[in-house]
Amino acid sequence: MPPTAGLGLKPQHYDDAVAATVEGLWFEVHPENYMSAGGPRLAALEAVRERRPLSLHGVGLSLAADADPDPEHLAALKRLVDRFAPFVVSEHLAWSTHRGRHQPDLLPFPRTAQALDRVAANIGRMQDALGRRVLIENPSLYLPLTGHDLDEVGFLTALVERTGCGLLVDVNNVFVSASNLGYAAEAYLDALPGEAVGEIHLAGHAPDEGGSALLIDTHGAPVAEPVWALYRRLIGRIGPRPTLIERDDDIPDFATLMAERDRAAAELAALEPSHA
């Protein structure tokens, strides 16, 4: 898979996605939105997949829960992986399911040695069930938790070493978390193990409408300029990687999203030939 730029696929853009002719375009979906027995959504995804590479980006496996991944969820994911042959499968460094209840969000936890054992074991279960390597994404953080044994980069690096997984770097999440918790996004990105990075996400954020100083990872706005600058810095160091424009709320028309996607494609194309 050449490191080109892709777009999160939304149901209102199925026809546009099938008709798109631009070179190198690929799409990404949340597998949870396709975990049905049948129906037109799966058929639409088939039609897109016939023409374009696809990435499956999970939001619900809850790898950082202190419990094994739900076997039914894993089996449903495996069926989608088998059917759609995605070039990447990814999940988050977060939890959402707890004692049988699902919270539709990506929740934080103290990065302790015990948590590292648990998350590494769960990534191992996921990779074993799917029979392939997966990428793990850094979360957006909003709580100044204490009790960490490792910083986030150290935790992700340890997961790579222990499980052989790769990393999905969401540059907007790095920007949001760094702003919310008070650390330097540049230093975070510079410390990531570049060879492990298999995909990059770019998305928009917004100030907290609740009036706090927090930035919220809304996926409801264009990618901010400081995030583009961090993106250039990251690919300047590690080289080009498949890069996704993510938009999940306040979704504009396809052409508007494609303009952002084309900007990412231009950034990738502008890299020094030593990276090509």
Partner: protein, 254 residues
């Protein structure tokens, strides 16, 4: 208890309104703004999913009423599955008991039909039985055959005209009227689209018999018992044209 599980118990308690539970993991006074962000994101995820799955309910009660009710439901019955396309199975029954909905006794029925629409949309794929598959069958063989309902078929009968009301609301009409006469709704997916229409009591009785594995003769008998004047051949042809069946079994025993 493992520390990670202890933290997650505390986090869920904090989300539910007991922020002190998280104090071992937070600097004093820190975290209320962050907890609100998580609370809001979780609530929005649940309410957005319910709005997507119950559009007719929302169109009838308005967005503010709907989102307030959906947020209460989500607190009482959070999702059990990460695939939210299936969320809200118990929302119709909850609305039936929801005191502010008492003035709209049809609302739970409307929600039930929205739910069936979602089930029809996401049901398993299967070919539809065509009329030509029945050609050349001897009348006795046909009478003894059993029809399999298409996996996407759903139907529900009501004491009043909830199906007509639901169809009008889905079509975007205003000045909706609830008629007194009993009515049923039939939903089936055909070529990727959900078809919905009012069905007669005889039709739903016929479908119930098929779903129970009875023969075509038995299904016809049950339909005729509900409505002695029903034109059975026409009823059967209409259901086949809807794509309501996926197969026909000629075995003589069930």
């Amino acid at each position: 208890m493992p520390e990670l599980l202890e933290f997650q118990d505390a986090f869920v308690a904090a989300l539910a309104g007991a922020p002190d539970a998280l104090s071992p993991w937070l600097a004093p006074g820190a975290g209320e703004a962050g907890l609100s962000v998580y609370r809001n994101t979780i609530a929005k995820g649940c309410v957005d999913a319910l709005a997507a799955n119950f559009p007719t309910v929302q169109s009838m009660v308005g967005e503010d009423w709907f989102r307030a009710a959906a947020a209460l439901f989500a607190r009482e019955a959070p999702p059990t599955d990460a695939a939210l396309l299936d969320y809200g199975e118990h929302f119709p029954a909850w609305l039936d008991r929801f005191p502010p909905a008492r003035e709209m006794p049809y609302l739970a029925g409307i929600a039930h039909l929205d739910r069936l629409w979602t089930e029809t949309l996401f049901a398993a794929e299967a070919p539809a039985l065509s009329a030509s598959a029945l050609e050349g069958l001897a009348p006795e063989a046909l009478a003894a055959s059993r029809l399999a309902l298409h996996p996407s078929v759903r139907f529900a009968a009501f004491d009043a005209g909830v199906p007509g009301l639901w169809l009008e609301a889905r079509a975007g009409r205003e000045d909706l009227d609830l008629t007194e006469a009993p009515e049923a709704l039939l939903l089936v997916r055909r070529d990727g689209r959900v078809l919905s229409r009012v069905a007669s009591p005889a039709e739903t009785e016929f479908l119930r018999a098929c779903r129970a594995g009875q023969t075509l003769a038995e299904a016809a008998q049950r339909a005729a018992a509900v409505d002695p004047d029903v034109p059975l051949a026409h009823l059967f042809a209409a259901l086949i044209a809807d794509g309501a069946f996926s197969g026909l079994s000629l075995e003589t025993s069930s």
